[in-house]
């Protein structure tokens, strides 16, 4: 299945592209790992409130060296800071925000995404694996819009955009849009809808690296 690498976006560039789609004033949860990078890419004229599910709204960047507080961490257990307007709360209130539909956007990583919007990102299903789900299932069932940010293929070149997820699901029909190094892709009943291609990447490149039908849905509005 491995194919030659195509020149695509860097992780930083994917994060910048995701950030473009996060409106001013939005309440946003960024998943652990690659999605965390989106925080640094919010355009300076937008104010976005970051939620971390362990009990903080108004999360700021990592602390300066030596100024961290072990009691002030994010869901990835890394030290963070707070922004003006922040608030602390317990886990039931934190997930009331999530499950209750109060978060505008959540950005998650993925192991697999299906054209139906199914997402798998918490377990390989291997019997010897120690599984861990954290807040992923709550986030996909609660956030108004679920965005996925991921490399288009695995390290070994396997497509992550698939007809049907092989890994255990995080949620059914939950993803709205996928941002990869190759493209911006909406999910839909007729397959993956390509909204935008990375510079130097062709529709064919994407189709070859996607194991489900892709539809060209590029239009003037695709960079919205």
């Amino acid at each position: 299945m491995t194919r030659p690498r195509v020149p695509g976006l860097s992780r930083r560039e994917i994060a910048e592209r995701v950030a473009l789609d996060i409106p001013d004033g939005a309440y946003v949860n960024l998943g652990i790992g690659m999605p965390e990078m989106v925080a640094q890419c919010i355009p300076p004229d937008r104010e976005v409130m970051l939620h971390t599910e362990n009990g903080l709204l108004g999360m700021g960047p990592p602390p300066l060296e030596g100024q961290g507080d072990p009691d002030l961490i994010n869901a990835g257990k890394r030290q963070v800071t707070i922004m003006p307007g922040a608030s602390f709360f317990h886990q039931a209130d934190s997930f009331a925000m999530i499950r209750g539909g109060h978060l505008d956007v959540c950005v998650l990583g993925a192991m697999q995404v299906a054209a139906s919007g199914d997402l798998a990102n918490w377990s390989t299903g291997q019997p010897d694996e120690v599984p861990g789900v954290g807040g992923a299932m709550d986030l996909v069932s609660g956030a108004k819009t679920v965005l996925v940010m991921t490399s288009h293929c695995t390290h070994s070149g396997e497509p992550k955009l698939v007809a049907e997820c092989r890994y255990p699901l995080t949620g059914r029909a939950v993803v709205s849009r996928v941002y990869t190094d190759l493209a911006v892709i909406d999910v839909g009943s007729d397959g993956f809808r390509i909204r935008q291609l990375a510079p130097g990447v062709s529709l064919c490149d994407v189709a070859e690296r996607t194991s489900a039908p892709v539809v060209d849905a590029r239009s003037d509005s695709c960079t919205d």
């Binding site: 307007g85 608030s87 602390f88 997930f95 009331a96 499950r99 109060h102």
Partner: protein
């Protein structure tokens, strides 16, 4: 830029459609958003379902809204009042429908609405007239009743202090249902005594985080902003 300040109660209230479900905070007069209710009376929306603990006291606020004929249905725990006849007259005349809910079940149904829990079981009211027609089920040999979440189109609440983001602090027992209603409405409008700049409320003390709030309006003499560093809570 997150700035949820509105200049006056009418613009804070915005559009309310006929037939809307409106939550109104307060327990008796403590925490009652009187000026926002006045704006709703001026605005004139009718056929409203009101969710509130009581059904109005005195002659202002919810009692006046009922008297104005705008309320078709009320969901509450205690509509009796020693100092208002507005609800009782409408009720006896068959012009207002009442859904009577035990107070704790009312609170929990509103919280469930805000927390994305569609329904829950509770032992409260099992085997009583208020549980008639509701699904019963035993858990650990205890008879329980299935109760559905309540959501609203608009919540009108009163707090002590807000910041621009809508973070809220309350005063004593005027807190009551307001933090729950803020969570459970599509649009939450808050009247406060004073508005602070973001960063001036202690994040440990915030009762209602701004994510649950859409618009805040300061009422009365203290419409000026609280300055930088002047306020960390209700009674610093």
């Amino acid at each position: 830029m997150i700035d949820k300040r509105a200049s006056d109660p009418v613009s804070a209230l915005g559009e309310v459609d006929d037939g809307a479900t409106v939550m109104i905070g307060g327990f008796g007069e403590a925490g009652s958003p009187v000026e926002l209710i006045d704006a709703l009376i001026d605005q004139g929306a009718g056929d409203l379902t009101v969710v509130s603990n009581n059904a109005g006291s005195g002659t202002t606020g919810l009692a006046a809204l009922i008297r104005a004929g705008q309320v078709a249905r009320i969901v509450c725990s205690f509509p009796k009042s020693s100092d208002s006849t507005a609800f009782a007259e409408m009720y006896r005349a068959g012009r207002i429908e009442l859904e009577l809910v035990p107070q704790g079940t009312l609170a929990e149904r509103i919280r469930a609405g805000g927390a994305g829990i569609p329904a829950f079981y509770t032992p409260t009211s099992a085997g009583t007239d208020l549980a008639a027609g509701k699904e019963h089920r035993r858990f650990a040999d205890r008879e329980c009743v299935l109760e559905n979440a309540i959501c609203a189109d608009v919540a009108l609440i009163k707090a002590a202090i807000a910041d621009w983001h809508g973070n809220l602090l309350f005063t004593k027992t005027a807190r009551n249902f307001s933090p729950l209603m803020a969570m459970a409405a599509r649009t939450t409008v808050v009247q406060v005594e004073a508005i602070a700049q973001p960063g001036n409320l202690n994040p440990e003390h915030v009762v209602t985080p701004g994510i649950f709030v859409d618009r805040v309006v300061a009422i009365g003499d203290r419409q000026q902003l609280l300055g930088s560093g002047t306020h960390s809570g209700g009674s610093r």
